[in-house]
């Protein structure tokens, strides 16, 4: 009898001594609200390499970007492997709302200004709301401001001839902490092209991805396939843009260093007008630098 009694006492002691902390944990677990877990940091930057990623500036955050593409590696020692020549693109890009980013930039190539909007439509999420992909819409207008060539008497140039329009759907999925992939169907309309054999309307599909090698370093690749490129008989011949790069993140900066066969840094340039060939060594070294400033008061 004494034995049973002590077991009984022991059990009660165990139940009251041990039970509570678990009980406390369970109560708190129940009180924590279930959340929608959005996939964040699908890419480190608003560009995968040349093209836009689904990332955008949050509300009241300003991104100042400077990008360079040097000449071709195959220019040899004479051209210091391309470093003698450099094209620049710089831009200011601002998050009006978390879902809306506006930006304006200028490229030295063809003295081109560009203005763009990126609108977030869907966010990849798990938890209480499931959404398999991110979806954003990107649109831009590019204004080429090179002086028009002399025209024959009686004909004139129009401002509209300087314009090109870019439309893209950005569809991305962060598969896991390291791997993110993006598909980018693209439609570009150019009001004026050089010859009759050039296309005014360009259809292309971008495929881009990143793989994180460490928390602050990722390997990126980007390829834009053009369905109806300019005629191959033209000089210079058009090629699809292929770029490989790394992202290095250091607090408020992201450095992107890449090799690419395209010298252009805007969609209207690197998608229809890439004339470098990887096989021939027309490879450009380049970098993008992003610096983010926060303007929200709190």
């Amino acid at each position: 009898m004494n034995k049973i009694l002590s077991i009984f006492f022991g059990l009660i002691f165990l139940a009251s001594g041990n039970g509570f902390s678990q009980d406390l944990d369970e109560l708190m677990n129940a009180e924590l609200k279930p959340t929608v877990d959005f996939a964040t940091a699908t890419f480190k930057s608003t560009r995968i390499i040349n093209g836009h990623s689904i990332e955008q500036m949050k509300e009241n955050q300003l991104d100042f970007r400077i990008s360079h593409r040097f000449g071709t590696l195959n220019s040899g020692l004479y051209g210091l492997f391309g470093l003698d020549e450099s094209h620049i693109h710089f831009s200011l890009e601002y998050g009006i709302k978390d879902w809306l980013m506006l930006g304006a930039g200028r490229a030295s190539q063809n003295k081109t200004y560009d203005g763009f909007a990126k609108v977030r439509l869907l966010r990849q999420s798990s938890g209480t709301k499931f959404m398999p992909v991110h979806l954003s819409y990107f649109t831009s207008i590019e204004i080429m401001t090179l002086k028009f060539p002399e025209r024959p008497e009686g004909t004139s140039n129009y401002f509209s001839s300087r314009l090109a329009y870019v439309n893209q759907l950005l569809i991305a999925r962060k598969f896991n902490e390291n791997l993110s992939v993006q598909l980018t169907p693209t439609f570009i309309h150019r009001n004026l092209v050089k010859t009759e054999l050039d296309q005014n309307d360009i259809y292309a599909l971008g495929l881009g991805g990143r793989y994180k090698l460490s928390k602050r370093l990722s390997l990126n690749a980007e390829y834009y396939y053009t369905y109806n490129p300019n005629a191959k008989s033209l000089e210079p011949r058009p090629y699809n843009a292929l770029s490989l790069g790394v992202d290095i993140e250091t607090g408020g900066h992201v450095f992107q260093i890449m090799v690419t066969n395209s010298q252009g840094m805007r969609e209207g340039s690197f998608i229809p007008q890439t004339t470098g060939s990887w096989a021939d060594g027309d490879i450009h070294l380049g970098f993008n630098i992003s610096r983010v400033f926060a303007f929200n008061k709190k």
Partner: protein, 183 residues
């Protein structure tokens, strides 16, 4: 005689198990702050949950890492991605006990207390003892605490390149307005 004893024990035990009164705060405030000449970092959450057992003085906190917000969107992203690894370790927990607890502490004016318990952050658990206050303020039971933690103690690696921007120690501030549980 023995039967009566059994019943008595049983009743006492059940009162112990089911009749415990608890206090809860569902929107407790937790922040951490570090200041260096280069940068101030402040992360704040108003969605922490805490429960206080009025019988035993046991006290628990839980907070989802993604409920911490920062002035800079990038800081928040880096906090979750690079430092706390919130996808892997979504929650911070503290389970502790108020030292020298007695029930009068819950009805008396605010007084200093000490709490000892296990803090679990970034998947690493450590026993800590922190100072705090507990008591009635404006008719409500309020608990606060302010203490320092060192990120490295919890396996949070801060690379050399940002070392100058992030303090060696984070000052953690906790504030909870407790209400009776289940009422």
């Amino acid at each position: 005689m023995l039967k009566k004893l059994f019943i008595l024990i049983f009743i006492t035990a059940s009162i112990g198990a089911f009749g415990q009164s608890k206090f809860i705060a569902k929107n407790a405030y937790i922040s951490f702050y570090s200041s260096t000449p280069l940068e101030d970092i402040l992360g704040e959450s108003n969605e922490a949950v805490t429960i206080l057992n009025a019988e035993t003085g046991e006290i628990g906190f839980q907070a989802l890492m993604t409920t911490f917000h920062f002035k800079r969107a990038l800081m928040e992203e880096h906090f979750n991605e690079n430092y706390m690894e919130s996808a892997k370790f979504p929650k911070a927990r503290f389970n502790g006990k108020i030292e020298g607890f007695n029930k009068d502490m819950l009805t008396a004016p605010v007084a200093n207390i000490k709490v000892t318990g296990l803090l679990n952050v970034h998947g690493v658990e450590k026993t800590i003892t922190v100072p705090g206050t507990l008591g009635i303020e404006n008719g409500k039971l309020v608990g606060t605490s302010k203490f320092k933690v060192t990120p490295e103690d919890y396996g949070i690696v801060i690379p050399a390149i940002v070392r100058d921007k992030i303090g060696k120690e984070m000052e953690v501030t906790v504030k909870a307005n407790y209400l009776p549980f289940g009422k």
